[in-house]
Symmetry: C2
Subunit: 210 residues, 2 copies
């Protein structure tokens, strides 16, 4: 049974944090705050979700965002929108090549089963579930994430997973368009090439306007 009680936010201005390799972390953002996600060591994909912290039934939706942006991948100035078609995160800066993905599901236990990994292999979907659970919300499935720094090509309708092109220290900055909780997972994929087979820590910084 899913539950969607409003979350108890604990805002701190100027928050910085680490997302250890293969793990997930949540951060609360107030409207106007900017979240910078830093690909500290390069090559690391960060699966990212955002939920309206006063009503978790509203969340960032890739299928609504593509319809709103008229693009597969957001660039500087573009807003990701929720399943209620309201802007939730806007890209305000991007020092990477702008290679991010909106097409592909988060990795999950079923994916690692297919790949023959150990049954307890870490995965982004369970990282999301765990972070939400710690925050007091039960949600059984993962919406399609914004896969920061993930290199997926889809020209001519063919979908291709490619090695990462992100370099150490590159970052993307997302401005909160509503109060929200963002959950990020440093993707544990170490079997395919998506993280160049070496999942690593990433970092984030939250700054406030003015």
């Amino acid at each position: 049974m899913d539950t969607f009680e409003p979350l108890r936010a604990s805002h701190d201005d100027g928050v910085t944090g680490t997302i250890p390799a293969k793990e997930g972390r949540g951060v609360f953002l107030r409207r106007g705050q900017v979240l910078m996600v830093i690909n500290t060591h390069g090559s690391q994909v960060v699966d990212t979700w955002a939920f309206n912290s006063t009503d978790l039934r509203e969340f960032m939706s890739m299928e609504h965002s593509r319809a709103s942006m008229l693009k597969i991948t957001p660039g500087v100035g573009d807003a990701l929108v929720t399943n209620r078609r309201r802007p939730i995160l806007r890209v305000v800066a991007d020092t990477s090549l702008g290679v991010h993905d909106t097409l592909i599901a988060a990795c999950d236990r079923y994916r690692y089963q297919e790949l023959g990994a150990a049954p307890d292999h870490a995965n982004c979907s369970d990282n999301l579930t765990s972070v939400l659970h710690e925050l007091g919300c039960e949600r059984f499935d993962a919406p399609c994430p914004l896969n920061l720094f993930m290199n997926v090509k889809s020209d001519g309708g063919r979908v291709e997973f490619l090695p990462p092109v992100s370099k150490p220290g590159q970052s993307i900055s997302l401005r909160a368009e509503m109060d929200q909780v963002v959950v990020m997972s440093a993707c544990p994929q170490d079997i395919t090439l998506v993280n160049a087979r070496r999942p690593s820590d990433v970092h984030f910084r939250v700054s406030s306007p003015g």
Copy 2:
């Protein structure tokens, strides 16, 4: 609060049915049965969802299907998969040009608000919710649908909504890879060009092997 009790199926072999313009209908399929969706008058988009009828937490997922098919759009022989990465529907025939969409959210009350429509404008998301509710399942949001006969171009990362190319009588046939309930909505969009501005009835037929 979402609920996911197993559904009480009422299977009938050789079922045929109408999905009236702007409405939604559900149909139970046993593994092996084939659902033919017929674009009776042409130009009509059919938003389509599929749920494992013994556990509605498992459902057809476009973001998992793209990763599995390595394509944006399924063609004959391709299987759509669930959020547990299991095949649920396989395209076994397609007499249309094969133009279908997996990128775009179902229309919803928020979309029609943006378009300035009346507050009670029919929409595919609420059609899904209503059908599931009649079947005894409460679900607050719509997974990304398989948009049969919807013409969305995404070359070069640019997403473009185009007028339909489907002709009267064209059909797609989907084989059930597990017991399931399929929900179809004859998209009520009459403001943009997606249904050539004239939503119309579509029909379906369920056949059993052998």
